[in-house]
Symmetry: C2
């Protein structure tokens, strides 16, 4: 590889100059913006100077180059340093840096986002960049079989996040030799000293115990950093460079001082600091380029991709939608870009069906839902279509990761099984009852909740090409297949299951409550009340036209039934959609209002007031 390990004085000088430029640019851009985190940038400037000049294999004019290394700032608040890096490599201009940082509509936002083509994912919620890096490294080592390396700059404060240890654990478990975390141990957090301050030895022991190779280094010794990165790249497993650094390094007034987190230097102070650092420079660094990737040898070797043959179900047969998820996902496996992940419950979510058919494209994340979602985000960075599954209730564990994935403009499919009180005896801890609200509120998300196996399979097939966060809610129990194989279930649509022009009332359900609505319509018919039944399988986007028709045809008599808490779910979706509609509407909204206990599915649905008789009563009250 490289002929020598010890750097010439000349090279040290060159790197020192580059580091000085990064510092100066971090200071002046944040002072100009009037906000930002210069001191958190200064501590890591030497690390990044050595990395970009000598170790990061990156084709800056072609960020989509699949051979490029990846660089993730898990400590996203050090954006002034990242943007200084981008200027140093010629990716952005000095003008853009100085005039747009943190301004409206700038791509140089307060924390990095993929508005910049060199940024894979949004960071700024700590402890997320490393878990995403694990996903990218999984792709590189197990799917792409490419020699790119994933470098993740972490802060020391974020080492207190459990997600960091989920990530290192998985890095160790999967032996990710293409992953290096660089921890900027600058001793100071936002409001004072970190938990471990400069106790590098404890960090070292933790990292080692979690199956990664620690490399302790003075984060301001350029030659030592260089050697550390060499060792990291050549290691046979995941590495963690633990760099002892000084917050504010290079600006004596703020070095190792509390009270300077997230504060730009005042203009006069900045000017003095820049002078002391040798002033503004115009260094353009050219680091190593990646080896060219051979033209898609792997793809060639693969057989023609067949369109997935979706599973077929007999109308009336009882099939759980979670089973249909597994069946459809296995069918989608004919696409080599489809990957499945699970949180150690694949025999429940039925992702195991995919895992059995395509073991090389199935990643077991064990019980670490944050890492589960983060790995999916990392995989889609590399162009894959990840499907991550666990219980609907336990996706709540990863809510911050899902929120951030939306800011990353990530395209990921999530499946939450065991929704609602329908699950029965296991009790409320296992019931997804706030997932529709939480997932609907994610920016740009899609939320699907099929009632039967045919519609579920059809929706799973569409999830693979849907942009953004796509959430599928599945049901534990078996219910009759309602639709014909081959029926169309467009996202944003709905299905009319019962009724015509002269209906007295409309019953809107989704998932399991569709079956209750159908039974209620039968009951109501005996009473002479004609009830329309609509399956709102697409909770977001919702089929507004179907709602408007329902209001017009019935004089605004609607019942909405959901196996979910009353706030923010299907009922809210309906109401939001009708908010500005001038005609009078009365919505009788049935949802789970109390705290459920154990019981059978039917008992619990009845107790919650979302069973057949509650629907009948609600419709009767309107009709």
């Amino acid at each position: 590889m490289e002929a020598e390990r010890t750097l010439h004085d000349e090279e040290i000088t060159r790197l020192g100059e580059l580091a000085a430029q990064l510092r100066v640019d971090a200071i002046r851009s944040s002072t100009q913006a009037g906000s930002g985190h210069p001191t958190s940038s200064l501590s890591a400037a030497d690390l990044m100077a050595v990395l970009i000049a000598r170790h990061l294999h990156y084709d800056w004019v072609n960020p989509p180059n699949r051979a490029n290394d990846h660089l993730i700032f898990s400590k996203g608040h050090a954006s002034p340093l990242l943007y200084a890096v981008l200027r140093a490599v010629g990716a952005i201009s000095e003008q853009e840096l100085m005039e747009t940082y943190r301004q409206l509509d700038s791509r140089l936002q307060g924390h990095p986002t993929p508005a910049l083509p060199w940024v894979d994912v949004a960071t700024g919620s700590l402890g997320q960049g490393l878990p995403v890096g694990v996903g990218i490294a999984l792709a590189g080592q197990y799917l792409d079989h490419l020699p790119f390396h994933v470098w993740v700059l972490c802060g020391d404060s974020e080492m207190a996040e459990g997600s960091i240890w989920e990530a290192l654990d998985k890095a160790g478990h999967y032996g990710l030799r293409n992953l290096t975390a660089i921890v900027d141990v600058n001793r100071l957090g936002q409001r004072g000293p970190t938990e471990l301050e400069w106790d590098l030895d404890t960090y070292r022991r933790r990292v080692e115990a979690f199956g990664c190779h620690p490399i302790v280094v003075d984060g301001h010794d350029l030659a030592a950093i260089d050697e550390a990165f060499d060792r990291a790249r050549q290691a046979t497993g995941p590495t963690v460079v633990l760099a002892r650094t000084i917050k504010g390094k290079g600006v004596p007034d703020v070095e190792n001082q509390p009270g300077w987190h997230g504060k730009p230097l005042k203009p006069d102070m900045a000017e003095r600091a820049i002078q002391a650092l040798g002033g503004v420079r115009q260094i353009r660094v050219t680091g190593p380029k990646p080896e060219p990737v051979r033209p898609a040898a792997k793809a060639e070797a693969q057989p023609e991709v067949k369109p997935p043959e979706l599973p077929q179900y007999d109308k009336g047969a009882k099939v759980a939608t979670r089973n249909a998820y597994g069946d459809a996902l296995r069918a989608l496996g004919s696409r080599p870009d489809v990957i499945a992940l699970d949180g150690e419950v694949s025999d429940s979510t039925r992702a195991d069906k995919f895992g059995e058919a395509y073991p090389d494209r199935f990643f077991e994340m064990f019980i670490s839902e944050q890492q589960l979602v983060a790995a999916a985000v990392g995989l889609q960075v590399r162009g894959y279509r990840p499907f991550a599954a666990t219980f609907a209730a336990f996706l709540s564990r990863a809510y911050d990761f899902i929120r951030m994935a939306a800011i990353s403009r990530a395209d990921i499919a999530l499946s939450g099984s065991h929704a609602g009180v329908e699950i029965g005896a296991d009790g409320p801890s296992q019931m997804g009852l706030e997932d529709l609200a939480a997932l609907r509120a994610v920016q740009g998300s899609t939320v699907l909740y099929p009632s039967d196996a045919v519609s579920c399979a059809a929706l799973v097939a569409q999830m693979a090409d849907r942009k953004g966060i796509v959430y599928l809610r599945t049901t534990r129990g078996k219910y009759p297949v309602l639709y014909d194989n081959g029926d169309d279930f467009p996202i944003g649509g709905s299905k009319l299951l019962r009724g015509g022009k002269d209906d007295d009332v409309v019953l809107f359900g989704a998932g399991v409550t569709v079956h209750n609505c159908l039974a209620a319509a039968d009951e109501l018919a005996h009473e002479g009340i004609t009830a329309r039944v609509v399956d709102l399988y697409s909770v977001k986007p919702l089929d507004r036209q179907r709602l408007l028709d329902a209001v017009r045809d019935t004089g605004g008599r609607l019942v909405v039934v959901e196996d979910h808490y009353p706030e923010g779910g299907l009922g809210s979706a309906v109401l939001e959609s009708l908010a500005d509609f001038a005609e009078p509407v009365r919505v009788n909204h049935l949802a789970v209002r109390g705290l459920p206990t154990s019981g059978t599915s039917a008992q619990l649905m009845d107790q919650a007031g979302i069973g057949v008789y509650a629907i009948v009563a609600a419709a009767r009250a309107l009709a």
Copy 2:
């Protein structure tokens, strides 16, 4: 303490009999129920037998006894074992166990909940019992100064959850000598082997690196377990008993076999197993009782509790509500039961005001939001009133913990600062924009979002006595004080800021948008449109009467403005509240519909369409 360390054969026999009873009861109760997790119970039966017979200091007839040890099943799915324990100590009857487990309205639910007075918190979402145990131990060691011990039974699968490592890290940091985690390392998870299987040495090194004292033991060797628990109780810091066990232990057909997770034995199989275990027993075990607590010496020594003197603000002065949170919390500090916690951002949330005044009642949780919320839950188990704060965006990290806290019927106060696009330049990763939806959907929750410092302080004061999960959303920037000191802000109420009977339109805001609504009303007045302005500071419960009045008075012309994504927030709350109201209503709902970037507060609110001119236009369109 105890005279001897080595157990007599007689005692071994007694413990073995007890363990056999626990196994038999776990098997028969789950077989009777037709669901449950017997094999996960069998592996830990010996551990629990020794614990309850010889180490758990517990007054079973008086669960609220403040001197009692605490026993938490972090592996909540082992509920058959817990309920077998409760029968063995005489807390519940054999009849209750056999007839009600997992049945409707039973307190013996599929996973434990505090429906049982001996259960502190609901478990069943893995990796949560231990973090809550840390909170209870913090209370014992730092606040109660009582010698009770906290024992937490963990599964090995849940050791993959980052929250476990947040918990051990904090246990080590705070030197919690009253905390013992007992890890039932039975090698098998739900769908197959765990990540580390029986690699006890790796567990040991991880635990040690995280600052806890590991004790490795054969989990089926009664004498060894006894010694381990002795050592745990006498240790000078937190301990983790790593017990090598066999899943299904005691039933040869299922011992160490995959495919038996969460499955009851079939009746014939159960019968054979029970016979082989020596049949049903009627052992009643009497373990050690806690030392009586001296009558509240600490309380006596304390001065009379003064009612908190809430901070006063000048009307019109610009004050951030996050500052008012800090001021009011400090004022509440006159109550000795009020405790504050923060996620290393107390200078932003302004919880630091409390921390400075009451350092002994302030717990720094560093950047580990899951542990932050879990510690709050643990503190309320001991009767304290915890206030936990971080950025609104980062509470999403703890969403599963908040969801479970609601099932625990925990009374905790949460403060999320930096809500919405209002925060400005830091960008979307730092903006709480789905928090209203997520927190509203939590069962039994209260959601508050004050617009000014006076109302904020008044609400904080009420939070201390509110049941359930109480969420306060605060704003980063400074806005004028709108109300008079001493004004009343009941939870469930609202404030009429502008308008009378003849208004053309009503503008509903909360938090920062109230100020935009006021400015919009001024603008509208110039156009001859009379706009009512209502401050919906109580987002849940919502002031329905105020909404009905608005509809009646204006013919249903409402504008709702929120600094939040459109789904599930204030707009949905309004619409849900009006769902069944027969009169025609048109709601023009302004919310953040795109993905925000950096910018100033005003720019971002304007861009999102929640600024003054958007409100004016929305009102004009209705009027």
